[in-house]
């Protein structure tokens, strides 16, 4: 069992971050929300205000773009599947690519882009579908540190512009504090909600927030709790297989 008795509510327009040790079922939770994974018990409710748009759109960790489609055609893929007309599709793609700063790359193929650019396309693809909830599964984990920092700022800007509800899974507590309105801490396997921390660091938020005492105090507070869970997860792994320590 990956998850156990998860009860969570995201408010409209909220940026909700989920952290937890490896194997706490963070990604599974997101996949349940996306409808990619059927939970054995329990319900997911998403309030749909606008009929015709999907409930969720996912940004995958490994971008998962279609290599044989241009950047533009990747962004319009979901719209195409829903039968949205060509003119509207292309207008939406232009708008979203401009938003993520890739307007000039509409006709490129994914293999011609860097990792950060591919992930921008992934974000544009999700946003083009105008979902009720944007789901992001460690979208920056595969990027190098500098690109990740730039992308975090970009995400803050895009979120401020669109005001979407976001559920964001990350293994980086720093990232969660920089981006989130609240941080949900999951326990080690099976994942349960350990604690929910409001992030009262003000908005708009920028990288400078990391220098503030409030940030440091909150980071310390959540980390001491997360640390316990990580150690517990490692010990549990050791119990199963003595060879696989620290994996």
């Amino acid at each position: 069992m990956a998850l156990d008795r998860i009860s969570l509510q995201a408010h409209a327009g909220e940026f909700l971050c989920i952290v937890g040790p490896s194997g706490s079922g963070k990604s599974t939770l997101l996949r349940v929300l996306a409808g990619l994974h059927r939970q054995s018990a329990g319900d997911v409710h998403i309030q749909a205000d606008r009929p015709g748009t999907p409930l969720t759109a996912m940004v995958f960790q490994e971008h998962a773009l279609l290599p044989w489609r241009t950047v533009r055609d990747n962004v319009t893929f979901g719209l195409e599947n829903r039968g949205v007309g060509r003119a509207e599709r292309e207008a939406r793609a232009r708008e979203m690519l401009a938003m993520v700063g890739l307007a000039r790359f509409a006709q490129h193929y994914p293999h011609q882009l860097s990792g950060g650019m591919k992930q921008r396309v992934g974000i544009a693809r999700a946003l083009a579908n105008d979902p009720e909830v944007l789901l992001m599964d460690e979208p920056l984990a595969a990027l190098d540190a500098q690109t990740r920092t730039i992308m975090q700022e970009e995400l803050l800007r895009i979120w401020a512009t669109l005001g979407k509800t976001v559920v964001y899974v990350t293994h980086s507590l720093e990232e969660a504090l920089l981006l989130g309105d609240r941080v949900v801490l999951l326990t080690a396997r099976p994942g349960r909600v350990s604690q929910i921390y409001p992030v009262d660091l003000g908005r708009p938020r920028a990288l400078e927030v990391r220098a503030s005492p409030a940030y440091g105090a909150l980071l310390e507070k959540i980390w001491s709790r997360l640390r316990e869970e990580v150690v517990r997860a490692m010990e549990a792994d050791r119990g199963v297989d003595p060879e696989a320590i620290g994996g």
Binding site: A64, F77, N81
Partner: protein
């Protein structure tokens, strides 16, 4: 002029290596190091090639072989891609056909000629079908693998964004398999040439294989080598042609220096 110079600068090994072989051969045959009866000088062979081309013999045989390859390859490509896709998509079919294919595939294609002749009208049709057998297996294998190797995450993402049924096949599974299908087609086309020549040697009176064998039997060694050269050239042209077609049709595949 500078473009030509740069082209030569990049390709000198590619151009130079066969030239070196020819020059060494010419020298060895001229000095008697190689017996000219079996290894005539390349310049002599070139003369015979010109004669064969001038009197039309070569074109007739080449056209016959090309038409046979065209039919065989088309047959193998259509059936191979269709069955390969089906095997890639449906596990049951794959499990059923895999052992059958595994047993038939390694049999040298020429051995199918008598068997095929019982099943279809002997002669031209039997020849075309026999030639298609090995190509069919190669194309079916690579196509199946092409479907199977598609990144599961990409398929999952496509489904998440609403691709189902026919749309999932046409927009995701087929394009995902296409690079492998092209590799299969290229291998299949190469083998169609190999097998058609072999089949022509054992059973035909026309075609490049027949010309080659006839030249050898009457010890017109120069004509044999000339035919050899034409077959090799034909193979290279077909292969490069398909590679160029692939580069045009599949612009998303990064160029891996595969020409």
């Amino acid at each position: 002029m500078r473009a030509v110079g740069r082209w030569l600068g990049e390709r000198w090994i590619t151009i130079g290596s066969p030239l070196t072989v020819l020059v060494l051969w010419e020298w060895a045959s001229a000095t008697g190091l190689l017996r000219a009866v079996f290894f005539p000088r390349p310049s002599t062979i070139a003369g015979h090639l010109r004669d064969l081309a001038m009197d039309g013999t070569l074109w007739g045989h080449a056209a016959t072989t090309l038409v046979r390859i065209g039919w065989s390859f088309s047959l193998a490509a259509i059936l191979g891609v269709a069955i390969g896709l089906a095997m890639g998509l449906w596990r049951r079919l794959r499990e059923g056909l895999d052992p059958v294919f595994a047993v038939i595939y390694p049999i040298p294609s020429v051995l199918f000629l008598p068997l095929v002749s019982f099943l279809v009208p002997p002669g031209e049709i039997a020849l075309v079908v026999t030639t298609a057998v090995t190509s069919f297996f190669l194309i079916a294998f690579t196509t199946t693998h092409g479907v199977r190797q598609i990144d599961r995450l990409v398929v999952e993402a496509a489904r998440h964004y609403g691709a189902r049924g026919w749309r999932l096949f046409a927009a995701v599974l087929l394009p995902g398999a296409l690079p492998f299908i092209f590799t299969g087609l290229r291998l299949g086309l190469g083998f169609a040439l190999i097998v058609v020549v072999a089949v022509e040697i054992v059973s035909a009176s026309r075609g490049l294989g027949a010309l080659l064998w006839l030249s050898w039997q009457v010890l017109k060694v120069e004509d044999m080598y000339a035919t050899f050269f034409v077959i090799a050239l034909l193979g290279a042209l077909l292969s490069y042609g398909l590679a160029a077609l692939r580069a045009r049709l599949l612009p998303w595949v990064p160029d891996a220096g595969d020409r």
